[in-house]
Every structure is written in structure tokens, then in C-alpha cells.
């Protein structure tokens, strides 16, 4: 028994030691917990995001598995296979489908509405409005199957889903392209398909389905998936299998040979691990093998395809990309938490320096002392691990429920319970990272402390060990490198200077610039925190509050080295808090700016056919004014293909002068010109053009130079005859960034605005400047303004819907309201919220801990001061006065560094902007100066309060004890 108690005595001894040394235990525990929180939180969030996205993908898929019969893939055999498959209780439903994989066979659909050749329309693979189409053959009962229901329930459908009797169901895009409506009769739908037989020559087949009635038009909502899943989804036309049998014998034959028909299988997701994509994929593969074996027993050789697997690769790529971005965004707080961890270790060891020496005197050897430190570290790690993981869950929930910077979606509050689960990877990954670093660092530091000579530690006079970077002035070098990258970014982002940096330079600046500025700036902050108080001491010492302690303060300013770490921590943390706040607000504003740019006005209305809809739109109640946006493509300018966009500039200019412009023109829409100046310039120069900076670089041209524009215009719709026209000496009036209504795609294909002449060129007529323009896109300014109600939006939308060839209408206010209610994509603002909370918490925790340790060290000094007559209030004044200027200086410096990092991080956002869907326009940094000032002020107050609280112990101590401690 005694043996056992002896063996286990380390545990109560360790726990007692932890509780009796609260300060150092707190320092280390907070470092561990914060590290675990950040790493597990980010992982849990990524995992939740991945699971949620995957569940959405799987839920939206019409079916997960398909089976092909290798020999004689007849409809009858597919039904026979269906009987076998449906015996499995993991299967919900099956249905035979005939469809070509669009990656193997190109299918084009040519619609001849009237059959007389007058309304033939086809897609042109080279054109900008090319539709990727695919026919899908189903049985008449398809709408009743779970697969059909899944598809129908996830789509908005106009008319009915009926493919019997040569009916067809088409997508909204196809309907718009071919100007089709429900119940329209199509004389024929031609299908030509080409494929390369395995190892053979390219073969072409043609067929058609005649006398087809459009029974329904479906419209995918964002994220929905058809037969081919949500990625690279072609526009589908649903036909009956009968059409394949009767009208398309060649296609049927090809289907028979190339396994074009298959049995679609809808599985019961609840019986699979849908929360883990990889596991679910494996389970589906096992299911397929099981069915294959069953079919083989029935004499049927089949091959299965896993639709989930097809979705998995692009999904995984996207997930990896998002994870990288999330990690980059969270990198500062990861570094911060690890710094806090190392800081905690050092503070903890620093505090036990004397204790270690005493133990050595008592006869403890290095191993025994190390084991005690190790045991305490281990117990603290276990406690920190549990606390950190719980906080990590909370952090992940905060990120996921964020609908803006420091804003939580209250509807999401109830979801917290679903986060309360054990994610083994998050749990162990965070433990490995934090535990590993903790072990390495504490071992290294503990050895250093233990092996130092006893006499040094017992009677140690604290000297300041300067870090490698500062010793070699590398902090200044780092800071200036960071500063130059900020200068480059600011020159480009604010002053619009194009430095023509290539990708690698940009990556270098955006990838390393923030860290150089952050770390270098924080280290330089130490120098500043020493220099400024010395320069401003006169100011402080003349303040009446500090008059009675001015002599002591004056002497301490010169000899203080112990606040280096405090200064470093304040700059390090406050800069991140500033970054998080500024980028959080920027992100919210950017989301609004994107929608303003994409929609362009209160409403954006799109039509399937190019025409003049001015009258139709102005007749609608609630419409104040409209602006047509014309597009013309492809257009050749000096051998490069561009899209040209244009609108009624005279009208818009006149409205703008009255403050009633239709478009939402951002101040940065044009380089060096306000929107008013730019429109005026365009109005004054009918032959002028504004080009994008992308176009300027490609065309190697500049403002004031001329261009020659060449384009092909169809002059006879029946014969398809075209004519090449050109206009010369079009002057480049300026550079534009973007224009309302989604005009310009600087990173994909450039557009140029060509004002006034657009219609004249296309129609080859001379038309008055203020003549209405034919277009497919219109921006509408509403009389209701921002206060428009949902009812009014619905009412206006239904009226737009009545206009012939109507395709879609988007309300800006509805989009903005949805934006306010939905968690943001990829948790950017959530991560920034977490950055903010963690950095402020880290600032307060570390300054409190460090202040407490500093005050502990100076207990004797304060006791002596008290013994010679100093009042308690004077002790407080000394403690606060010593830190006041330093804290304020570092708070200002930290905010300035934060501003610099904000600009650099903005560049990083720009690099990732394409995948995040916000790359069309620049992300303008918005500085909430008031918030930043409040944060700086509050943090400073927090540090001073921490100092005062720590000084309390020193001021109230028992003088008889304190004065005799050497």
C-alpha cells in the first residue's frame, strides 16, 4: 500500500503545486488551452464546413450509384437488375436512365420551332452564350420515383414534369436561349453527336425528335444537382425512353454498345457515414461490390459507378483550397497562441528559478527536478487539453454561426449541441501539435534552468537576455522589409500605381510581407517602448497625479528592461486585433459592394432575347428609371477577342447630375476619375472608349492612343450571312475597373465599355445619342428605394415575369437582406471574429500574467519604499506611471502595424478572391477608426488594470516579511 502511495505521490504533490502556484499555472494553462482552442477550433470548423458542404452535395444529388450491364443493356435487363438491387435495405429506389457522359460524347441540340427553318436556333460552341447541353432519357414514371422526386423537389418547375407522349422538360437556360415557353410545340429537336470509338476514328451521328411539346421548364437553384451532379453541370433536356426507341435508333444503338443506359440507384444516406466523405465513399464501394456479386449470381455481369466518388475529387480540391485559405487567415492567432504557450513555459520556469535552486540544495538531482516540472506540465496539459477542446468547439461554432464581424446568427444558437462531439482528429492533432511543442520547448528551457549554477539562481540579479533578432538588428531589417511590402501594396491599392509585379513577387509580398511586418514591427516596438517614455518622461512627471512619485519614476525609466516582453506582447496582439476589426468590416462592406456591382441597381432584369424592353419596363409600377446594358462579343481589337459592353451614357449622365442615376457607381470604378467625370468624358467623345487595365496590358496601349475595333455582324438571320465591320481610331479615354451590372471580369476575360456607338455599330445605322438600346440586361431603379418590402419585391418580380422573353430578375435589397441573415461563405468574418477575440484575450492574459510576475519580483523594492514612508497609493502610481507611456506608445504602434498588415492581408484576399467569388472588383480596405481607437484604448486600460491588480499584492504585503527577503 505504502509502495503504491509512494508511486502515486507525484499526483497529489503535482496538483497541490499547481494550485499553490496559481500564477505560473495560469500562465502555462492559458498558453496550452489557447493553442488547443485555435488548432482544434479551426480543424473542427473545417471539418464541419466540409461535412456540411458534402452533405449538401450528396443530398442534392439525384442518385449516388449507377449500374451498367456489360452485355445486352436492354431496358428489360435493367428492370431485372432493379429487382435484385431493391432487395437490399440500403436502397431507397432505382430507375433506368439513358444519358451520355458529356465528357465523352458531345451532344448538340438544334431546335426548329416551326419546322420551316425560320426559327432554327443552335448553339455555337465558340460563342460566349454557349450552352453545354445533354439529353436525358427516362421512363414515364420517373416523376414518381425517389430519384425523380429528388430532382423535382430541388428545382423550381414551371409547368409539369411529364415526358410521356413526346413531351420534354427543359432547363430555364435552354428555354431562354431558344425562346421557349411551357406548352410550346417544337417541330423538332435535332441531336448530333460525335464520339471516338475506343481506339477508332471519330464518328458522327445525327437524329431528331419531332413534334415535341414543352411540358415543363425547370430552374436550378444554386447548389442543386441534376444527373451529372453539381459540378460542370450541363443543361439537361428530359425525354421519354420511348423517344429513344422510336425516334433515335442510332443513339439507342450507340447507347446499347457504349453503356449509355444505366440503372440509377438512390441509397438510404442514413445507413452510410455521410459525415465523412472518404468513409462514405468506401462504404458505397463495398455496397457496389456486394450488388455486383449478387448480380453475377443471377448471371448478369454489371459494373457500378460511384457518383459520390465523382463528386469527391473536385469537392476535396475545393475543401483543400478553402482549408489553406482558412489556415492563412487563422495563422496569426495560431502563431500568437504558440507564442503565448512559449511565454507561459518561460514565465512558469522563470518563476520557479529560485525553487529549482533550493531543490538542488536539498539534494534533488536534475532528473528529479525535471520530472516534477514534467509532471506539472503534463497535468496542466491534460486540463488545458480538455478546456481548449471545449473552447475549440465553441470557437468553431462561433465561426460557423457568424453572419458578420462580431455578429452571431441567433437562429444558429441552437445548433451548438450538434458541435458537442468528439472529433478524434481535432482532438489528437491539436494535442500532438501543442503537446509536441510543449514537450520540446519545456524540456529545452527546463534543462537550461536546471543546469544553471545554483549560486546564479539563488542570488540571481535579473539581466535581460536579448533575442537573436534584436541582437543582430534583424528586427529592423524585418520591419523595413515588411514596411516596403506595405508601401508597394498601398501604392497599388490606394494610388492605383501599376508596378507590374509578376505572380511570384505578388505571392512573396502577400505571403511573407504580413509576417515580416508583424514580427519585425512587434520587435521594433520594444525599442520604441523604451525610447518614447524616455523622451516623454517630462510630460508625465509634470502631471499632478505623479508629482509625488516623480523622482522614483524618473530613475526607473532609465533602468527598466523588464518591460520588453510586455511591449512585444501588446504590439503583437493589438496589431492582430486591428487587423481582425478592419478586415472584418472590410469583408462586410466588400460583400455589399460585390452585390452592388453584380446587380448594378435596385433590380437587374435579364431577357432571353435581345430587344428594346424600355417600354415594357417603364410601364411597371415601382420602376423609376432604367438603364440598358448592351454586350457585343466576340469583338476583335488588334487580334485579341474582347467583350464590349455599353449603355445609354447621356441619359445616365443627366440623371447622375440630378443625383438620380440608375447604376450604383463606385468611386473606384474609373482610375483617376470620378464616375461623373468619366461619364462626362464618354459623353463628350462618342468615339471614345474606356478600357480595363487588363486590356491596356494586353493591347499594350494607353490613354490618348487609338484602337481599331473589328467585329462580325449577322446581316441575314435566315441565311446566317454575316458581315465584318470595323471602326478605326477609337480613342482610349481612360482605364476603368468595373461598372454596375457585372461589367468587367478583369481576371477572366476583359470587357471594354464602348458608349453610344454600340447600337450604331451593330445595327449599322445612325441613331440619336439618346435613342433606346437593344439589350438583354436592364438595370432598374425603383421608386421604393432601400425600404422596399418583400411584398413589393414579389409584386414587381411577377410583373417583370410577364414581359416576353423574361429570364430572371434579381432584387438588390433581397440579396442584401439574405446576406445579413446567412452565415458568410467559408467563415471569413467568423475567423476574423475569432482572431479578434483570441488576440484581445491573449493580450489581457499575457499582460496580466507578466505584470503579476514583474510585481512579484519587485515586491521587495516596493516593501522598502513602503518601509521608508511611501503610501499604498504611491506604490500604485509608481507601478502604473512606469507603464503608462510604454503602454500607450505600444498601443498606438500596434494599431499602426495592424493597419499595415490589414493592407497586406487584403492582397492575400485578392489572390484568393477568385475561388471566393469576390474577385471581380477590388476589395477596398475600410478602416473603422473609431473601433480601432476604442480597441487600442481598452487594451491599454486592460494592461494598466492588470498592472494595478498585480501591484495590489505588492502594496498590501506584510512589510516585516517582505523587507527581510533578500
Amino acid at each position: 500500500m505504502a509502495d503504491l502511495r509512494g508511486k502515486m505521490e507525484w499526483l497529489p504533490f503535482t496538483i497541490q503545486s499547481i494550485f499553490r502556484n496559481k500564477r505560473r499555472s495560469f500562465a502555462m494553462l492559458s498558453g496550452i488551452a489557447l493553442g488547443i482552442t485555435i488548432i482544434s477550433g479551426i480543424y473542427i470548423y473545417s471539418s464541419v464546413l466540409k461535412t456540411q458542404n458534402f452533405q449538401t452535395v450528396v443530398e442534392n444529388a439525384s442518385f449516388e450509384v449507377k449500374f451498367d450491364i456489360l452485355e445486352n443493356e436492354s431496358l428489360e435487363n435493367l428492370h431485372k437488375l432493379a429487382d435484385i438491387v431493391e432487395l437490399d435495405d440500403r436502397v431507397i429506389d432505382t430507375t433506368p436512365i439513358g444519358s451520355t457522359g458529356f465528357d465523352e460524347v458531345e451532344v448538340s441540340v438544334i431546335v426548329d420551332k416551326l419546322g420551316d427553318g425560320s426559327a432554327v436556333d443552335s448553339q455555337n460552341p465558340g460563342s460566349s452564350d454557349f450552352l453545354n447541353m445533354a439529353p436525358v432519357f427516362v421512363e414515364n414514371d420517373y416523376p414518381e420515383t425517389e430519384i425523380g422526386k429528388k430532382f423535382l423537389s430541388s428545382s423550381e418547375l414551371e409547368g409539369v414534369f411529364d415526358v410521356s407522349d413526346n413531351n420534354v422538360v427543359i432547363s430555364r437556360a435552354i428555354a431562354s436561349k431558344f425562346q421557349l415557353e411551357v406548352d410550346d410545340n417544337i417541330y423538332s429537336i435535332n441531336m448530333s453527336y460525335a464520339f471516338r470509338e475506343r481506339g477508332g476514328a471519330l464518328k458522327f451521328y445525327e437524329g431528331y425528335v419531332s413534334n415535341v411539346t414543352v411540358s415543363g421548364i425547370y430552374e436550378f437553384r444554386s447548389g442543386d444537382a441534376g444527373i451529372f451532379g453539381s459540378f460542370f453541370n450541363p443543361e439537361e433536356l428530359y425525354f421519354s425512353f420511348d423517344a429513344l426507341n422510336t425516334d433515335l435508333p442510332e443513339l439507342k444503338r450507340w447507347f446499347d454498345e457504349e453503356l449509355g443506359r444505366f440503372l440509377a440507384v438512390k441509397i438510404d444516406e442514413t445507413q452510410f457515414t455521410v459525415s465523412d466523405p472518404e468513409t462514405m465513399n468506401d462504404e458505397i464501394l463495398k455496397f457496389m461490390n456486394y450488388i455486383t456479386d449478387l448480380a453475377e449470381k443471377e448471371g448478369m455481369e454489371i459494373v457500378g459507378s460511384n457518383n459520390v466518388q465523382n463528386l469527391l475529387l473536385p469537392f476535396q480540391l475545393l475543401s483543400i483550397f478553402i482549408n489553406i485559405f482558412d489556415f492563412l487567415l487563422a495563422a496569426p492567432v495560431v502563431i500568437l497562441s504558440l507564442y503565448l504557450l512559449f511565454f507561459g513555459i518561460e514565465m512558469s520556469l522563470e518563476e520557479r528559478r529560485r525553487e529549482i535552486a533550493i531543490k538542488k540544495v536539498q539534494g534533488a538531482n536534475e532528473t528529479q527536478i525535471f520530472n516534477e516540472i514534467r509532471n506539472q506540465t503534463f497535468v496542466l496539459f491534460i486540463i488545458g487539453w480538455i478546456i481548449g477542446y471545449m473552447l475549440g468547439i465553441f470557437g468553431a461554432w462561433i465561426i460557423a454561426s457568424s453572419i458578420g464581424f462580431m455578429q452571431i446568427d441567433l437562429d444558429y444558437v441552437g445548433s451548438f449541441a450538434s458541435y458537442l462531439r468528439l472529433d478524434k482528429t481535432a482532438l489528437f492533432m491539436s494535442a500532438i501539435v501543442v503537446g509536441g511543442l510543449l514537450t520540446i520547448q519545456s524540456r529545452k528551457k527546463a534543462k537550461e534552468f536546471i543546469t544553471s549554477e545554483v549560486s546564479e539562481t539563488i542570488k540571481r540579479f535579473e539581466g535581460v537576455k536579448m533575442g537573436y533578432l534584436r541582437r543582430n538588428n534583424l528586427d529592423i531589417v524585418m520591419f523595413f522589409i515588411g514596411l516596403s511590402t506595405v508601401s508597394v501594396t498601398i501604392l497599388e491599392q490606394i494610388y492605383g500605381v501599376d508596378l507590374n509585379l509578376n505572380f511570384w513577387w505578388s505571392l512573396l509580398i502577400q505571403g511573407f510581407g504580413p509576417f515580416f511586418l508583424w514580427i519585425g514591427g512587434s520587435l521594433v516596438g520594444i525599442r520604441i517602448a523604451k525610447f518614447v517614455p524616455l523622451k516623454l518622461e517630462g510630460l508625465l512627471l509634470n502631471v499632478w497625479l505623479f508629482k509625488d512619485v516623480s523622482k522614483i519614476l524618473k530613475s526607473t525609466f532609465k533602468r527598466r528592461n523588464d518591460t520588453d516582453k510586455l511591449a512585444f506582447i501588446i504590439v503583437l496582439t493589438l496589431s492582430i486585433a486591428t487587423l481582425a476589426t478592419a478586415q472584418g468590416v472590410t469583408d462586410q462592406n466588400h460583400a455589399i459592394r460585390i452585390r452592388q456591382y453584380e446587380i448594378g441597381s435596385d433590380y437587374q432584369i435579364n431577357f432571353g432575347e435581345i430587344s428594346d424592353y424600355t417600354q415594357n419596363l417603364t410601364n411597371i409600377e415601382g420602376v423609376e428609371n432604367i438603364m440598358a446594358i448592351g454586350k457585343f462579343a466576340p469583338t476583335l481589337i488588334q487580334s485579341t477577342v474582347f467583350v464590349i459592353s455599353g449603355f445609354d451614357v447621356h441619359k445616365e449622365l443627366a440623371l447622375m447630375k440630378e443625383g438620380k442615376e440608375v447604376g450604383i457607381w463606385h468611386e473606384d470604378a474609373f482610375d483617376d476619375l470620378t464616375p461623373l467625370q468619366a461619364l462626362q468624358k464618354l459623353s463628350d467623345n462618342p468615339e471614345g472608349v474606356f478600357i480595363s487595365s487588363f486590356a491596356r496590358n494586353i493591347l499594350d496601349t494607353g490613354i490618348g492612343e487609338t484602337l481599331k475595333i473589328r467585329f462580325e455582324v449577322e446581316i441575314n438571320a435566315t441565311s446566317g450571312e454575316t458581315e465584318v465591320r470595323s471602326i478605326s481610331d477609337v480613342e482610349v479615354l481612360g482605364i476603368y475597373d468595373h461598372a454596375p451590372g457585372n461589367v468587367n471580369h478583369p481576371n477572366v476575360i476583359s470587357s471594354s465599355i464602348l458608349i453610344n456607338r454600340l447600337r450604331a455599330i451593330r445595327d449599322n445605322t445612325t441613331i440619336a445619342d439618346d435613342a433606346p438600346m437593344n439589350a438583354t440586361r436592364y438595370l432598374v431603379k425603383s421608386t421604393y428605394g432601400d425600404a422596399i418590402t418583400e411584398d413589393q419585391i414579389n409584386q414587381m418580380t411577377s410583373q417583370f415575369n410577364q414581359i416576353p422573353s423574361y429570364a430572371s430578375a434579381v432584387s438588390l435589397q433581397r440579396e442584401l437582406r439574405e446576406l445579413d441573415e446567412q452565415p458568410t461563405s467559408y467563415g471569413i468574418t467568423g475567423l476574423l471574429t475569432m482572431n479578434f477575440i483570441v488576440s484581445v484575450a491573449a493580450a489581457l492574459i499575457s499582460t496580466f500574467t507578466y505584470s503579476a510576475i514583474l510585481m512579484e519580483r519587485r515586491k521587495h523594492e516596493f516593501a522598502v519604499l513602503r518601509a521608508i514612508g511611501a503610501k499604498k497609493s504611491q506604490i500604485y502610481k509608481i507601478a502604473i506611471g512606469e507603464n503608462l507611456i510604454m503602454v500607450l506608445t505600444t498601443a498606438i504602434w500596434g494599431s499602426l502595424i495592424g493597419i499595415g498588415i490589414t493592407y497586406l492581408f487584403n492582397g492575400l484576399f485578392g489572390t484568393f478572391a477568385f475561388i471566393l467569388g469576390g474577385g471581380a472588383i477590388d476589395r477596398l480596405v475600410t478602416f473603422p477608426w473609431l473601433y480601432v481607437s476604442i480597441i487600442g484604448f481598452c487594451t491599454s486600460i486592460g494592461v494598466l488594470v492588470a498592472t494595478a491588480v498585480s501591484a495590489r499584492g505588492a502594496a498590501n504585503q506584510d512589510l516585516s516579511i517582505a523587507t527581510r527577503v533578500v
Binding site: 505504502a2 545554483v454 527581510r964 533578500v966
Partner: protein, 328 residues
Amino acid sequence: MFNQQDIDEYEGPLLKSTGVYVIYKGKEGASNVVALRGINLEINRGDFLAIVGPSGSGKSSLLRCIGGLQHPTAGAINYYGRDITQVSESDLVPFRRSTVGFVFQEGNLIESLSGFQNVVRTLRYSGVGYSQSRSRATEILSLLGLKSRMHDIPKRLSGGERQRVAIARALANNPKIILADEPTGNIDYANSENVMGIFKDLHRDLETSFLVVTHSNHLATFANKKLELRDGRFTGQHTGNFDVNSLGGSRSVIISESGNLTLPPELLGMVLEYGNLWEFQAEEQNNQARIIAKPSIQEKLPDNCPVCKQPIIGRTQNCRSCGAKLLN
């Protein structure tokens, strides 16, 4: 390093230090500080030695070196004939466990542990079993009158109680020698009496050797040998009536084994006026040894200082006006 058999068989002194120097490097251009200048010291089993001297004379440095807490700059410190300055830190551990026990002026207790645990840890570090260490700690703390207070943390103990815990901790492993640095410096007279009584009892009953650094007359009177340390050298040994504030009355100067004689400061000031070359003559008179010393060459002093030309008054090595050296 030290096994019991070797210790038992060893017949020489318990501790012998030879030519111990400690030099602290001056900071930022300041000159070095020589804390100990060739200290020779011998302590036998059962000795109770007190070292007295003014502040800054090197007492604590000497104690730390002797206790193996600090490496001297030069010299040897032998315990049972083995030099502890030549062994590694890990080899010093068994030495600290079994040979020496420290009592510091401020106690140096681990503040987070109770008095009892402070003693138990010492025993546990030495490999004493769980139960044995607890009973031994109880026994020794009871012996020192701390039975009722032993589970309090040091903060709740009085100065005397803290010091008694420190003594208990130092005695826990039955060390051969207790090194005490101003053990009664922080406690009142009654508690000092207590502590000294404990020391005396231990010295008498267990034959533990003591080396005590002190400023206290009272404490020093307990010692059977009192050495005076000044400027890093032993300048005298005291016997009889002893007053740390007036050491001249009881001092005997020491001639070291190597023949060095360190004169006390007041004597040194006087003799130096007659130059630094002296003739010694030893003789026996009435069965007692006598040494007669006189300056070897009585150089004639000039009438006036060759530098400031002021007249030379009296016998002096340096000009009293300008400080110029008058004799070669």
C-alpha cells in the same frame, strides 16, 4: 562519489580547503571583485566553527563554495580527501544529500509546500521510502518543536518557525556538516536562543560538524573555533571574550601552513609606515615564543617632498600633502 565505507575509513579532516579564490567579473568595464583570496580551512568531525567578519568580507561566497553551490575560481575543497571542485554537477548531488545540510538566513523554504512537505521532499530526493520519509520528517520536526505547526505553509509560520523548518530540512539526511549562513539573522533573541540550543544539542549528541557564518556575538560564543574573515582572507582567530564589534581585543593572527601571515587592518596600517621590509627574530622567554619584528632598512626620509616641496613631518612612506611616494 562518496560511499559510506570510504567515509568511515577516512582518517583525515572532514573538510580541507586549499588556496580557494573567488573572483567575480566586473560588469561593463568595472574592475573584477576578488571575494576570496586563497582561503585555507580545515574542519574536523565534531568541530563547531564560526566565521565572523564585516559585510562584503566574502563569508557567504566561502560558504557557497564549501557547500558545493558555487565553483571557486581557483583552489581545492576536499571532503574526506576528495575535491568537490573537480566533479560534475551530477556527482555533487549525492554529496549534497549525505554530507552537507544548508541553513540559510532567509530559510529558503519552498513557499508552496508545507513545512512537513519541505522536509519530506528532501528525504524523498535522497531515495528514502514514502513511509520512512514521512515518519522521519515528523520525528525531526517534533524534535524541533514544530509538531503542531508542521502542516502550515511557510507564509503562515513565524520567522523562528520557518528557520526551524529550514534546520529540520538541513538535518533530515543526517549530514556530516551543517553550513549555516546567518541562521539567526532574521529571528528574535528568544528564537535565536532556541536555534542555537538545537545546534548545540545536535553538535553534542550527533557529533555533527557546524560551520556558521554570523554577525552575532551570541551565536559565535557557541563555537569552539572562531575565524575572522576580511577582504577575502582569514585575518585572525578569536578566543576568550569575544565581541564581533571589537575584534582587536580577542584576535590572534594566523600563520598559514604555507607560511603566510595576514595582519589585521589596524596593525597593517601602523607597520606599513615603516616600509614593507621587516626583520623577524624569534626567541623563547619564560617557555613562551616571542617574535621581534623591526624594519629591515631604515631609509632616511628627505626633508622635503621631491614633488610638492612640502616639509616631511614624522615617519611616513608617502607625502602627507601630495601623496607622492617617499621611499623606494
